[in-house]
């Protein structure tokens, strides 16, 4: 359903952060983008959501070329981003987030509150009054209100208590049954194992391997770390 070919992304006046990333996501399913900090996971998700423009390469969603689309158009095409840091609207209540983001009633407020019960008790509270876990739930719920085909979740369990992280993992795992494919950026393979069907290992802005097993992903990450350390240890001429 999502296909990127040779995607290269650079920030203004900087070197490329992503190099020739080619990615093919099966629909429906849960896919993990695994890599260490600075690997380019967030850059890739923001590029897919239209917040960053690629310098070269293409992005296709369901066969349609969406390369370089504005985030508004990408959202309408069915790509939703649950960003790292949540990026909620602090002056809006939980209910107002649902109202502002809702394009139709594919995902009703009642369904989302059933999915995330803690939000039901906080419906009239502003986003900046919520706990970290509640904020993460609202971030995913807001994204679902846009009726996505593809949900991009950037470190969705980062910094959360294990019980809350488990709740969110369960929700993300179940989304394919509702026709939503998930691409979640995660820092290590162990976190990805419980959530995803496939893992795509991203190191230094390049896709290293595509695998179904934690062992293969971990091996790829360790190989990258070993190479990085070896490179750092070499005396400079």
């Amino acid at each position: 359903m999502l296909h990127t070919r040779d995607l290269t992304v650079a920030y203004p006046d900087g070197p490329p952060v992503l190099h020739d990333v080619t990615l093919d996501l099966r629909h429906p399913g849960v896919h993990a983008l695994v890599g260490p900090n600075g690997a380019g996971k967030t850059t890739l998700l923001h590029t897919l959501a239209g917040h960053l423009q690629p310098t070269s390469g293409t992005i296709h969603l369901d066969g349609r070329d969406v390369t370089g689309w504005h985030p508004t158009a990408a959202a309408r095409a069915g790509i939703a981003l649950a960003p790292q840091g949540r990026r909620l609207w602090p002056s809006l209540t939980v209910a107002e987030h649902f109202a502002a983001a809702g394009r139709d009633e594919t995902w009703t407020v009642e369904e989302l509150l059933d999915m995330f019960p803690p939000l039901a008790a906080r419906i009239g509270h502003r986003a900046n009054q919520l706990s970290g876990g509640e904020q993460q739930m609202l971030t995913i719920a807001r994204a679902l209100r846009t009726t996505p085909r593809l949900l991009l979740a950037d470190e969705p369990t980062e910094g959360l208590a294990p019980i809350i992280a488990d709740q969110i993992t369960t929700v993300l795992r179940d989304l394919p049954t509702r026709g939503v494919t998930v691409l979640a950026a995660l820092p290590h393979a162990a976190a990805a194992e419980t959530m995803a069907d496939t893992m795509h290992v991203l190191t230094s802005g390049q896709l290293d391997c595509h695998t179904h097993t934690t062992a293969a992903a971990t091996t790829a990450l360790r190989r990258h770390l070993t190479l990085t350390h070896a490179s750092d240890a070499e005396p400079h001429p």
Binding site: A49, G50, A75, P83, W89, S91, L92, A99, G102, R142
Partner: protein
């Protein structure tokens, strides 16, 4: 005592009118980052239209208020089109452009309406005074107060109970995430500028029966609006309303109680507010 109570009510009424004018300015800045220095000109245009169109009948008064509001909205639309290409080029470019529009607009208004201070011809029922809680109070001011309260309530309901209002507040908070839910923030910017212009035109029409309208109206209205926006916190509507009522009361009570210091009171009050206030107010752009 009688004088002070009436003056305070006057100040609150004036403050609410200023709030209607400044609310649009602060939201336009908060949502779209547009520092609109032509805002005072829209207010003056509304005032001139009200003064020119009223003929002492209810029908002409209603038409004048409607025309003033529409003229302001049209001005806001022109401004939205003019500033759309300047996004991302900083506030100075926008300020220069809107200042230029203000200068041209001011000259056009003076050329069309002359340099005298004009006042509207109100229906006979709005002339004279009425007894309220033992005090005599001018009917036209009471009517303006009622309309100002009504507009403020409607504005609050739109901002807090409609999807459009919520998207405006969301755009003030984080415009990229508004794009992320499929709504173009530039459309929100344009809508806010049109609504802001409409409110400015309406405020100009409502202020004219009290203050009249003349060549100095645009500058005074812009200065007061900017003071309100700065004191209330950039982008904050509740802050703007509170600051506007404060400005209205300080202005009117100051002129009556200590006329010699009246010109300095407002600036002194603004300096005190800025020095004392440390925390951002709700909705403020930080």
């Amino acid at each position: 005592m009688n004088t002070l109570v009436i003056t305070t009510v006057d100040g609150i009424a004036y403050g609410l009118l200023l709030a209607i004018a400044a609310a649009g300015l602060t939201v336009a800045f908060g949502a779209g980052g547009v520092l609109n220095l032509a805002h005072g000109t829209f207010i003056a245009a509304g005032g001139y239209i009200a003064a020119a169109w009223t003929a002492g009948t209810w029908g002409s008064l209603a038409t004048a208020i409607l025309l003033a509001t529409l003229a302001g909205a049209a001005g806001g639309g022109v401004l939205a089109a003019a500033t759309a290409g300047l996004r991302g080029r900083g506030h100075l470019d926008q300020a220069l452009l809107t200042f230029g529009i203000a200068l041209v607009g001011g000259d056009v208004l003076t050329a069309v309406f002359g340099s005298d201070v004009l006042r509207p011809r109100m229906p006979a029922a709005l002339e004279g005074t009425v007894a309220v809680a033992g005090y005599r109070y001018p009917v036209d001011r009471l009517a303006v107060l009622a309309v100002a309260v009504l507009v403020a309530v409607v504005g609050y309901v739109v901002l807090h109970r409609s999807r459009a209002g919520r998207l405006v507040r969301a755009t003030v908070d984080d415009r990229a995430m508004v794009a992320g839910v499929g709504v173009n923030p530039r459309t929100v910017d344009a809508a806010v500028l049109v609504a802001s212009g409409a409110l400015a035109g309406l405020a100009g029409a409502l202020t004219t029966p009290i203050l009249g309208v003349g060549p100095g109206t645009a500058d005074t209205a812009l200065l007061l609006s900017l003071i309100i926006v700065v004191c209330g916190g950039l982008g904050s509507v509740p802050g703007a309303v509170a600051a506007a009522i404060g400005v209205g009361v300080v202005q009117t009570v100051g002129v009556v109680t200590i006329p010699a210091l009246a010109p300095y009171l407002l600036i002194t009050a603004m300096a005190v507010v800025l020095l004392v206030r440390r925390r951002p107010v709700p909705g403020q752009v930080t």
